[in-house]
C-alpha cells in the first residue's frame, strides 16, 4: 500500500512516534529477542493461556513492528524478515487501541521479569499516548482526560463540592477532637501541604477525615489546597505527557504559591508515581520542595512519638497488596509493612509480594474503560486466588485504584474480604487523648438514624439495583420512593416533595440526562439535590455537558452501601449550592 493511502490519523501516529523515541525507548524496542520469558509474568496470560495475543512480547511487537519498519535498518530494508509493518488505516489503529488499553494495565510485571531489561510498560504507554494524540481511545479515557484538563481533576469534582466536603468533614472532626481540629484550606507557610485523589471526595471521604485526624493528633502544621489539589494524573495512564505535565505543574505551582515545605501525597499508587517521580520529568521542572507518600508521613509520626497507636484496635487478619506503581516503580515496599505491623496485630504476607506482586487488575486506567470490564474481571482470577490464599479478612492497600479494582474482584469472585487503606487502620489505632472537659452528667441523646426525616426518590431501571439502593437508604432512616424510568420519576417529582433523588443515566424512555435537565429547568424542582449513579462513566457527558447546574453527586456503579451512605449524607448535610 502506498503512503498516499495512509489515513490522516495513521500518518500522524507515525510522525509523532519519532518525537517519542528516546534512548531508553529505542533500547526496549530493539533489544527483544523473543525469548518468551516475560509470558507468564502477565496476569492476562495466566488467565487466557490459549490466547497468545495477551503475551507481553506479542503486545509490544505491535509497536515494535512499526518502529522497525520506519526507524530500524533491517525493518526498512527487509521488513518481512523481522515482521516489520507499518500502519495505514484507522481500523488498524483501533486494533492497536484494543491491545494497548484493553490487554495491558501497564503494571510493569513483565518488565521486571525480562532478562534483557526491555521495559514493556513504557512501550505500551507510548502507544497509548500516540493513539490518544489522534483521538483513538476508549471513551472512558476521553471523558476522564477531559475532566482533568478542563475541571482540574480526573473525576470532574467541582471546586464547590470539594470545599463543601472538606467543610463537612472538618465539622465532623471538630465534634470528635475539639474545636482546634479541622481541615485548614490554603494556609500559607505550612510544613505539610496534603494533596488527595478526587475519589476520596466522591467515594471515600472517610480517608480524608482519617488523614486529617492523624495530622491533627500529630500537631502538624498542615493545609490542603483549594485548587490544584488532585495528585492523581491520568497522563500516566493515557500516555499523554502534555496532560501529565500540566496536571503535575498545577499541583507544584499551588504548593509553591502556598510556600509549603513538603507535599504529602495521599495513598494512591499512580498518584504517588505521577507526582513524586514522573511529574517533574513531564513538567520539565525541578521541584523546589520535598514530596513524600502519606504512608511515610504516618510512619514517621509513630516513630517520633507524635501519635500514639494501639494495635489491639485492629485485630482482624490483614494482608497487604502492593500497588504496582508504588512497588515496581517507586520502591515503596517496606514502609507500609512496618506501618501495618505497628497498627495491626495479625499481618499475613501475600505471595508473591512487593515488586513481584500481581496487579490488582484495575490499574492503568482499566477501571475507567467499561468496555473491557469482562476481560479485566476474568484476568482478576489470579489476584482472587492470591488474596484467598492469605486467609485474611482485610486486604490493605495504599492505592485508590487498587481499592476499586480489588473491591470489584472480591465481589465478582465472592471472597469474604474487605478492602481498606493504611490511613484507615492508623486512624482507628490512633489513641486520642481528649482535651475537652466532659460534663459530669451528660444527657444521652436518642440514637437517630443518619437519614431519618429525609425523603429520597430512587430512580433506576434495574430491579436489583433499585432494591439495593432503596434498602440501604431506608435501613438508614430515609423514606424511599422508587421509580423505574424517567417518566415515572418526573411524575413523582411533580406530585411529591423530596430532599434528594438518585438517578441512573441509562434507562429506557427518557434517559437520566433528559430527566436531569427537565428537573433543573423547572423552577419548582431545580433546587432538588441529585446524585447520579451510573455504571457507564462514558455517559457522564450526558449530565455535565448540559447548560444547567451540575448534580450534587456522581457515583459509579457498582457502589457499596458505605459509599452510598457517605455520599448521600454529604449531599444532604452540606449547604445546597445556589444555582
Amino acid at each position: 500500500m502506498s503512503v498516499g493511502t495512509r489515513s490522516h490519523k495513521a500518518a500522524k501516529v507515525l510522525e509523532r512516534m519519532g518525537t517519542k523515541l528516546n534512548r531508553q525507548m529505542v533500547g526496549s524496542l530493539a533489544a527483544c529477542v523473543h525469548c518468551g520469558m516475560c509470558t507468564d509474568a502477565c496476569h492476562y496470560v495466566l488467565t487466557n493461556p490459549d490466547d497468545p495475543t495477551y503475551a507481553p512480547a506479542y503486545k509490544a511487537d505491535l509497536v515494535r513492528k512499526i518502529f522497525k519498519r520506519h526507524f530500524d535498518w533491517t525493518g526498512r530494508v527487509l521488513p518481512w524478515w523481522v515482521r516489520a509493518k507499518s500502519v495505514f488505516t484507522d481500523e488498524e489503529l483501533e486494533e492497536l487501541k484494543d491491545t494497548a488499553f484493553g490487554k495491558c494495565t501497564n503494571c510493569r510485571r513483565c518488565s521486571v521479569n525480562c532478562p534483557m531489561g526491555v521495559d514493556f510498560a513504557v512501550v505500551n504507554r507510548m502507544m497509548r499516548g500516540l493513539l490518544v494524540s489522534v483521538g483513538v481511545m476508549p471513551e472512558g479515557v476521553a471523558v476522564v482526560s477531559k475532566d482533568q484538563w478542563e475541571i482540574g481533576n480526573q473525576m470532574g469534582v467541582l471546586k464547590e463540592d470539594y470545599l463543601e466536603t472538606l467543610e463537612w468533614l472538618s465539622e465532623e472532626l471538630q465534634s470528635e477532637l475539639g474545636a482546634e481540629a479541622g481541615i485548614p484550606i490554603d494556609k500559607p507557610d505550612c510544613d505539610v501541604v496534603y494533596a488527595i485523589n478526587p475519589r476520596e471526595v466522591k467515594y471515600d471521604p472517610r480517608t480524608i477525615s482519617d488523614a486529617a485526624k492523624i495530622f491533627c493528633l500529630a500537631g502538624e502544621k498542615w493545609t490542603m489546597p483549594s485548587e490544584g489539589w488532585d495528585m492523581t494524573n491520568f497522563g500516566l495512564f493515557s500516555g499523554d505527557d502534555d496532560l501529565g505535565g500540566a496536571v503535575a505543574r498545577r499541583l507544584y505551582e499551588k504548593v509553591t504559591e502556598l510556600r509549603g515545605r513538603k507535599l504529602v501525597i495521599s495513598e494512591c499508587g499512580h498518584g504517588y508515581r505521577s507526582t513524586r517521580c514522573e511529574g517533574p520529568n513531564w513538567a520539565g521542572m525541578d521541584v523546589p520542595f520535598e514530596m513524600e507518600s502519606s504512608v511515610i508521613t504516618m510512619l514517621r509520626y509513630i516513630r517520633e512519638g507524635r501519635i500514639k497507636v494501639d494495635r489491639a484496635r485492629n485485630t482482624d487478619a490483614v494482608t497487604f497488596h502492593d500497588s504496582c506503581n508504588n512497588a515496581r516503580s517507586c520502591g515503596l515496599t517496606e514502609e507500609p509493612r512496618e506501618l501495618i505491623n505497628l497498627v495491626a496485630t495479625d499481618f499475613r504476607e501475600m505471595y508473591p509480594n512487593r515488586a513481584e506482586n500481581y496487579c490488582c487488575t484495575g490499574g492503568g486506567g482499566a477501571m475507567s474503560m467499561s468496555e473491557y470490564t469482562p476481560r479485566r474481571l476474568k484476568s482478576a482470577r489470579v489476584k482472587a486466588d492470591q488474596l484467598a490464599a492469605t486467609g485474611a479478612r482485610i486486604v490493605v492497600t495504599s492505592c485508590h485504584n487498587c481499592v476499586d479494582g480489588l473491591t470489584d474482584l472480591i465481589r465478582h469472585y465472592h471472597l469474604d474480604m474487605k478492602v481498606t487503606q493504611l490511613v484507615n487502620l492508623v486512624a482507628r489505632a490512633a489513641v486520642v487523648e481528649l482535651k475537652v472537659a466532659v460534663p459530669a452528667v451528660a444527657k444521652v441523646p436518642a440514637v437517630a438514624l443518619p437519614l431519618e426525616g429525609y425523603r429520597i426518590l430512587v430512580v433506576d431501571d434495574e430491579a436489583d439495583v433499585l432494591a439495593f439502593l432503596s434498602a440501604v437508604l431506608s435501613d438508614n432512616g430515609a423514606t424511599v420512593v422508587e421509580a423505574s424510568d424517567g417518566d415515572q420519576a418526573l411524575d413523582l417529582l411533580k406530585k411529591e416533595r423530596f430532599d434528594l433523588m438518585t438517578l441512573d443515566l441509562s434507562m429506557p424512555g427518557k434517559d437520566g440526562g433528559v430527566v436531569f435537565e427537565a428537573l433543573r429547568r423547572d423552577p419548582a424542582l431545580a433546587a432538588l439535590r441529585v446524585c447520579v449513579i451510573s455504571g457507564r462513566p462514558e455517559l457522564r457527558r450526558l449530565i455535565y455537558e448540559r447548560p444547567v447546574t451540575p448534580p450534587e453527586g456522581y457515583l459509579d456503579k457498582p457502589v457499596s452501601d458505605e459509599t452510598l451512605l457517605l455520599n448521600v449524607r454529604r449531599i444532604l448535610e452540606t449547604e445546597h449550592r445556589a444555582s
Binding site: 533489544a31 523473543h34 525469548c35 520469558m37 531489561g117 517521580c277 520529568n281 521542572m285 520502591g331 505471595y351
Partner: protein
C-alpha cells in the same frame, strides 16, 4: 593446510571482523543519536539514596547471573540452564575461531578440545530444543519472526560444525574447518542485522532500566527470603 583453509581462517575472518566492527560502530552511533531521557525526581530509594542509581545499574547488569533475582528465571530453571549452556556454547565457538588461527597450541592441551566440544554439542542440542519450542509453543510461534528461526537454525548448525572442527585436524579432512570458518565469517556479517546483535543492546537497556529502578529504590529487588518465597511461587502457579 590448503590455501582455501588458510584464507577462510585468516583473511576472511579479518575482513569480516573489520566489517562487523564498522557496522557495530554505526549501530551504536545510531542508538546514541536518540537522546537519553532525564530523571529529574529526587530518589525514592531510602537506603543509600545518593548512589542508589549506580547500585541499580550494577544490579541490573548482574541480574542475568542471579537466577534467583527474577521470578521468570526462578520459575523456569530449565530455561535458565539452557540459556547458560547455550551462551557458553556461543562463547566456546567464538573463542575457538581465534584459537585455531592464532593459538592452535592451546587446543593441544588435553582437556581443552573435549571441553569445547562438550559445550558446543550441548549448545547444539539446546538449539534443537529451542527450535522445537519456538515451533510448538503457540506463544513462541506467534512472536517469532523469520529472523528468529533463521538465527537459531544457523547457530545450531554452527555449533554442530564447530564441534566437528574443534580437534583442528586438517590432516583428517579440511571440510569441517572450512565450513566452520565460512559460517563464522557469515555470522560476523549477518549478526549486526539480526536479533543476535541483542548483546550489543543489553548493556544499554539494562543500564537505563537499572539506573531508573535503582534511583527509585526498586533495585535491588527486596523479597522475603527462603521458604516463604518458594511457597509464594507455588501458590501463584497453582493460582494460574
Amino acid at each position: 593446510m590448503s590455501a582455501l583453509l588458510h584464507f577462510t581462517e585468516h583473511r576472511l575472518q579479518e575482513v569480516t571482523l573489520v566489517i562487523m566492527a564498522i557496522t557495530y560502530t554505526l549501530r551504536i552511533r545510531w542508538l546514541l543519536r536518540f537522546k537519553a531521557g532525564r530523571e529529574r525526581q529526587a530518589p525514592t530509594a531510602t537506603i543509600g539514596a545518593s548512589d542508589a542509581h549506580r547500585k541499580g545499574v550494577a544490579y541490573s547488569w548482574a541480574i542475568i547471573g542471579m537466577p534467583w533475582a527474577m521470578e521468570s528465571t526462578r520459575r523456569h530453571r530449565w530455561l535458565y540452564v539452557q540459556f547458560v549452556l547455550f551462551h557458553l556454547g556461543v562463547t566456546a565457538a567464538i573463542v575457538m575461531s581465534f584459537l585455531i588461527p592464532y593459538a592452535p597450541d592451546v587446543l593441544t592441551a588435553r582437556p581443552v578440545v573435549p571441553l569445547l566440544q562438550a559445550l558446543m554439542a550441548a549448545a547444539c542440542l539446546i538449539g534443537c530444543y529451542r527450535f522445537y519450542r519456538r515451533v510448538s509453543d503457540k506463544v513462541m510461534r506467534r512472536i517469532s519472526t523469520p529472523d528468529d528461526y533463521f538465527s537459531l537454525a544457523l547457530l545450531t548448525v554452527w555449533f554442530f560444525v564447530a564441534t566437528l572442527a574443534a580437534p583442528n585436524r586438517p590432516d583428517r579432512g579440511e571440510a569441517p574447518l572450512v565450513v566452520y570458518f565460512v559460517m563464522t565469517a557469515f555470522f560476523l556479517l549477518y549478526v549486526p542485522f539480526s536479533k543476535i546483535s541483542h548483546y550489543l543492546y543489553y548493556p544499554f537497556t539494562r543500564y537505563y532500566f537499572g539506573r531508573s529502578m535503582g534511583h527509585r529504590g526498586v533495585y535491588p529487588v527486596r523479597r522475603q527470603a527462603g521458604v516463604a518465597v518458594r511457597q509464594g511461587d507455588r501458590q501463584a502457579r497453582s493460582g494460574a
